[in-house]
Symmetry: C2
Subunit: 205 residues, 2 copies
DNA sequence: TTAGAATCGTCAACAAATTCACAAATGAAT
DNA sequence: ATTCATTTGTGAATTTGTTGACGATTCTAA
């Protein structure tokens, strides 16, 4: 599909295209153009055409893109045309809020287990899940062949848990802990830190 | 301070430097080097020196950087050497989890009010705050001269609330809603969407 | 006092990312 | 049937971002 690897910045924009296409579809639209997509995403139309061109030809000259078809192709490219099972580590306020969030399942990411190491949290019901002992993590990861994890533990525990996840074969970590993780090069980390966001924006105020 | 504007990618790395410096300080270290910072942040040492050089000369040849001093300078550059008041819009699971999170206040971001439009949520206590009617937002923003907001409402409500925030003079929005917002060019938006993160990483699996 | 190791700040070289601009194709309107 | 307004996909040009390399400085230790 991709002879020479497509760069990270391109891959990171594809989910935004997908999200906008879903939005347009809900509006009842069936076709769109790189220009319209660009305007609504605050990107240039050339950028969008170029990004898509790394993966194939999905549009029709003079007409634009069929929204449903382009969605389908993007899901295929991103490997989200199948469900993924995901484990959540940490049953604090954040971990629990994540389990209650419907947005993951809507996009095919099933949060199938939540773990914590605090005895008073183990056994607690969170949405449709029961908090499990972190000691049971290896078994669950192995049995369900989990490849993705959400890390929602305090900063001081994050690196230790990350090490464990990597050893268990997890290859993608969505990290909410405010710390840069050190992981093997075959493991991906996506960082979410709201404080970093506010600090970046404060610069411009 | 910055003759020709410093690019966004550079600004977005500064909080990571700051975060790492705080971490090192907790480890008891007092000085560091661009090389050490680079290794721990998975960046090149040249990158770090280059980034800092846009703002001045903070290191000492042969020695490196004084951690406390560099922290202080970075806080000054980012305008986080003062507290910022921030409002939270949306008192769902996410909004409530954010109010409970101590990480904002630790970095000088004070969540001073939380709003919702649902009658059954208004009046509810969340941490040290009481959920207020969204109708009271203009008054609070004006009285406390708020410039930053966290948007934690459902996707379908997000653009409407964002419009209101912009009209009220808010200049920085931390957006958790899974939608690309259209805002005036003088307003910054920092996007947090965990699903986008998982989708990006799924590409590599 | 001097030698040597470490490190910064910066200019130039290099690489990556974005934009430009246009041929080719499409569909609508006359 | 022909014209015209759109729109794609892409190679080239341009812009932006990263890395290399080195003079200058600092500290340590013999």
């Amino acid at each position: 599909m991709a002879a020479q690897p497509v760069s990270d910045v391109v891959i990171n924009r594809l989910p935004l295209y997908l999200r906008m296409l879903e939005f347009m579809q809900k509006e009842g639209k069936t076709i769109t153009s790189s220009q319209e997509l660009g305007e609504r995403l605050a990107l240039s139309s050339a950028q969008i055409r170029k990004d898509l061109s790394y993966f194939g030809e999905f549009g029709k000259q003079g007409t634009g893109y069929n929204i449903e078809y382009l969605q389908k192709m993007l899901r295929h490219i991103l490997h989200v045309d199948r469900p993924w099972d995901v484990v959540v580590i940490g049953a604090g306020d954040l971990g629990r809020a994540l389990v209650h969030y419907q947005g993951f399942a809507e996009q095919g990411f099933n949060l199938v287990a939540i773990f914590d190491n605090a005895p008073q949290k183990i056994g607690m019901t969170v949405g449709h899940l029961v908090v499990q002992n972190i000691a049971d993590l290896p078994q669950v990861v192995h049995e369900k062949q989990i490849e993705m994890a959400v890390l929602a533990v305090p900063a001081q525990a994050a690196q230790g848990v990350a090490n464990q996840l990597c050893e268990l074969g997890i290859r993608a970590i969505l990290n909410y802990a405010p710390i840069t993780l050190t992981v093997p090069s075959n493991v991906r980390v996506y960082y979410i830190d709201p404080v970093v966001g506010l600090q970046s924006m404060a610069y411009y105020l």
